[in-house]
Amino acid sequence: MPDTSPTPETRKLSYGEAVNAALHRLMEELPETLVYGEDVGVPGGVFGVTRGLRKQHGDRAFDTPISESAILGSAVGAAMMGRRPIVEIMWADFSLVALDQIVNQAANVRYVSGGRLRAPLTIRTQQGNAPGACAQHSQCLEALFLHVPGLRVCMPSTPQDAYDLLVTAVHSDDPVLVIENRTLYFGAKEEVVVGGPVLPMGGVRERHAGSDATVVTWGSITHRAVEAAEALAREGIGLHVIETPWLNPFDTGTVIASARRTGRLAVVHEANVTGGFGAEVVARVAGAGVTLQAPPIRVGAPDVRMPAAPTLAQVLVPDADRIAGEVRALVRGGSR
C-alpha cells in the first residue's frame, strides 16, 4: 500500500467532526474501504458524521435499506473478499436484530478458517442514554461484545480518540466495533492531530492523577468521572482516573498496577452493573491478588430498563455527583 497519508496537522474538531475526518482520511488512504449504512450516504448520516463521503468518493459511500442483517452480513462477505467495509449501526440497540452476523459470523471467520480468511470490517455504532430517549434507544451494550472472542472493541470519548481509534480499527485485519456516543458528537471543538501514524490497539489514557483510589472508566461517562475526580481533588482526595478506550484488547496490567499503588478500585460505566464489563475489571484485579484497602466498587446504572422521563433516567444514569459520592465513601470508608 503506497503511503498516501498526509503529514500530520492539527485541526479544531468536535467529536463528530473528528469521526468524519477519520473517515475521509481512511477512504483516501485505503481504496478498499467502503462506508455504508442507513442514511450514511447521500444524507451524510443522521448525526452528520459521514458528511461529504458520498460526494468525495461516490459509490464507495452509500445508503442502505433498513436491514441490519444485510448491512452487517454483506460487510462480512465484502471483508472476506478483501474490502474494508466501515458500516454503521445507527444505535447499538439495533445491533440486536442482527447480532448473528457479528457474533456467529464475523467473529468466526479467521479462527475457524485457521487464518486462511479474515474479516477486516469495522462496525461504527453509538450508544447510551440521552435526555428523553426510550428504553430501546438507551442501552450500553459493550459487555455483550466483550464476551465474544474474535471481536475488537473500543469506545472513544474525545475527539482525538474518536479519530485515532477509528483509524486503527479500519487498519486492523480483524472485525472491530467502534462504539461512539451521540451526546458527544456535537460537543466542543478540540485540537485534534489528524493524519498521524496508525496507532496500535490498546493502551489507556490517564485522565486524572491521584493516589487515593484507582478509577477505571470508558465511554462518555469518562467525562463525569473526571468531573468527580476534580471535585474530590478539591476535598483533598486524589483519584487516578484511567480511561480504557480499548476494551478488547484491554490493558489489564496498567489497571492492576494502579490499583496496587492506590489500594482502592472503582469501576465506572454507564451500563447497568450486573454482568457489565466492570465485573470483569474487578475480577481481573481480584484474580491478580491485589490487596485492596477497601472492597472494590462498581458505579453504573442499576439493573433496570431505561425510562424516557428525564426525572427518572436522571436517578439511574450515574452522574458526577453520584460517582464522587460513591468514590468518596470508598476512600473515606477506609478498609472494612
Binding site: 442507513e38 442514511d39 450516504g41 447521500v42 444524507p43 443522521v46 445508503d63 442502505t64 435499506p65 433498513i66 436491514s67 441490519e68 442483517s69 444485510a70 440497540d93 439495533f94 436484530v97 442482527a98 440521552a130 435526555p131 428523553g132 430517549a133 426510550c134 428504553a135 430501546q136 434507544h137 442499576p302 439493573d303 433496570v304 430498563r305 425510562p307 424516557a308 422521563a309 428525564p310 426525572t311 427518572l312 433516567a313 436522571q314 436517578v315 439511574l316
Partner: protein, 315 residues
C-alpha cells in the same frame, strides 16, 4: 356522507393539533428527546381505528401519537407521557416513542423498526385461544418492509391464517432516504403475494378509503382468512423527527404534498359538499381548544417521581 367526513375531519384535527402542540412543546422545553410527528399521515390512523373493535390489538411505531389518539387514548395522559409526568399513560417511562395504553386497545409504540410486527402476530395467535375474537393490526413504515422481522411476521401470519392486518404507511422515506432507492419496483403491496396473502396499495390520505380496506381486511381476518397487507400511500408534511433539516426534499415536493394532504383535501371535499366554511373551521377550532386544555392540564401535573424509578422491573 358529510357527517362522516366531518367526523373524520375532527378526528384528524385532534391528531394534527396534538402534533403541532407537541412540536411547540418540544421547542419550548417541556418535551425533550426525539419526537416523530405524523403530520400529513392522520387519515390512516383515523380510517383504520374507526373500524377496530375494542378487543382488537394495535401495534404502532415511534410515529404513533396519532394512532393512540385515534384509538381513543385520552389527550391529557398522552401529553403527560411525552412530558415525563407521573400521570402519563406509562408514568413517563415510554415517552414519545415507546408508550402503551392497552386499556384502550393501543398495545404500544415500538422504536425498533419492524419490531412490532411479530408481536402483533402473537396477539392474534392469543385470540385463537382466548375466545376474544381479537384481530391485530400492526403499523410500520415503508422502510420497515426491508426488515427481517417483518418478513418473518408476514409469513408466520399467513402460514397460520392469523387475523393480522399489516398496515404499511408508505410516506416515501425511510428517515432521510427515499424508499424508491432501497427497493426494486416501488409497489410494496405486491410483496403480499410472496406470502399468499392479499395486498393492496391504497390512498392513505383518504380516511374513507382506509376505512373500507381495513374493514375488508378485518372481515377476511375474522372469517379465518388470515392476514392482509395494506400499503397506505401518504406523505409527511414535516421532517422524520423534530429537527430534521429535510435536505432530501426535491423542488416542488412540499407544494405537491400540501395539495394532497388529508386535511386540506377533506376541507375541499366538504366545501364541495356544501358544508359552510365556518362549520369546517369550527372543527379545527374545537380540536385546538381541546388540545390546548389537555396540554395545559398536563403541564401542571407532577413529574414522574424519581423514587419510583426502579419499580415494576419484575412481578
Amino acid at each position: 356522507m358529510s357527517e362522516r367526513r366531518l367526523a373524520d375531519l375532527q378526528a384528524m384535527w385532534r391528531i394534527r393539533a396534538f402534533e403541532e402542540k407537541v412540536r411547540d412543546l418540544r421547542a419550548e422545553g417541556p418535551i425533550v428527546g426525539s419526537v416523530h410527528l405524523c403530520i400529513g399521515q392522520e387519515a390512516i390512523a383515523v380510517g383504520a381505528c374507526d373500524v377496530l373493535e375494542p378487543e382488537d390489538a394495535l401495534f404502532a411505531t415511534y410515529r404513533g401519537h396519532g394512532w393512540a389518539i385515534a384509538r381513543g387514548v385520552p389527550l391529557e395522559p398522552l401529553f403527560a407521557e411525552l412530558m415525563g409526568r407521573a400521570n402519563g399513560v406509562n408514568g413517563g417511562r415510554g415517552g414519545s416513542a415507546y408508550f402503551t395504553a392497552a386499556e384502550y386497545g393501543f398495545h404500544g409504540e415500538n422504536s425498533i423498526v419492524g419490531g412490532g410486527a411479530p408481536i402483533a402476530c402473537g396477539a392474534a395467535l392469543a385470540g385463537r385461544f382466548d375466545g376474544s375474537g381479537r384481530s391485530a393490526v400492526t403499523v410500520f413504515g415503508d422502510g420497515a418492509m426491508n426488515q427481517g422481522a417483518v418478513h418473518e411476521a408476514m409469513n408466520f401470519a399467513s402460514a397460520f391464517d392469523l387475523p393480522v392486518v399489516f398496515i404499511c404507511e408508505n410516506n416515501r422515506y425511510s428517515e432521510l432516504t427515499p424508499i424508491a432507492d432501497m427497493v426494486r419496483g416501488s409497489r410494496l403491496a405486491d410483496r403480499a403475494a410472496a406470502y399468499g396473502m392479499p395486498g393492496h396499495r391504497i390512498d392513505g390520505n383518504d380516511a374513507e378509503s382506509v376505512r373500507f380496506h381495513v374493514r375488508d381486511a378485518l372481515e377476511i381476518a375474522r372469517e379465518g382468512g388470515g392476514p392482509t397487507l395494506l400499503e397506505c400511500m401518504t406523505e409527511r408534511l414535516v421532517g422524520h423527527y423534530i429537527g430534521d433539516a429535510e435536505n432530501y426534499r426535491r423542488p416542488g415536493e412540499m407544494d405537491r404534498i400540501r395539495r394532497r394532504e388529508p386535511i386540506a383535501r377533506l376541507r375541499q371535499a366538504l366545501l364541495a359538499d356544501g358544508v359552510p366554511a365556518g362549520e369546517i373551521d369550527a372543527v379545527e377550532a374545537g380540536a385546538r381548544a381541546e388540545i390546548e386544555a389537555a396540554a395545559a392540564a398536563a403541564l401542571t401535573a407532577p413529574f414522574a417521581d424519581p423514587a419510583t424509578a426502579r419499580e415494576h422491573l419484575y412481578a
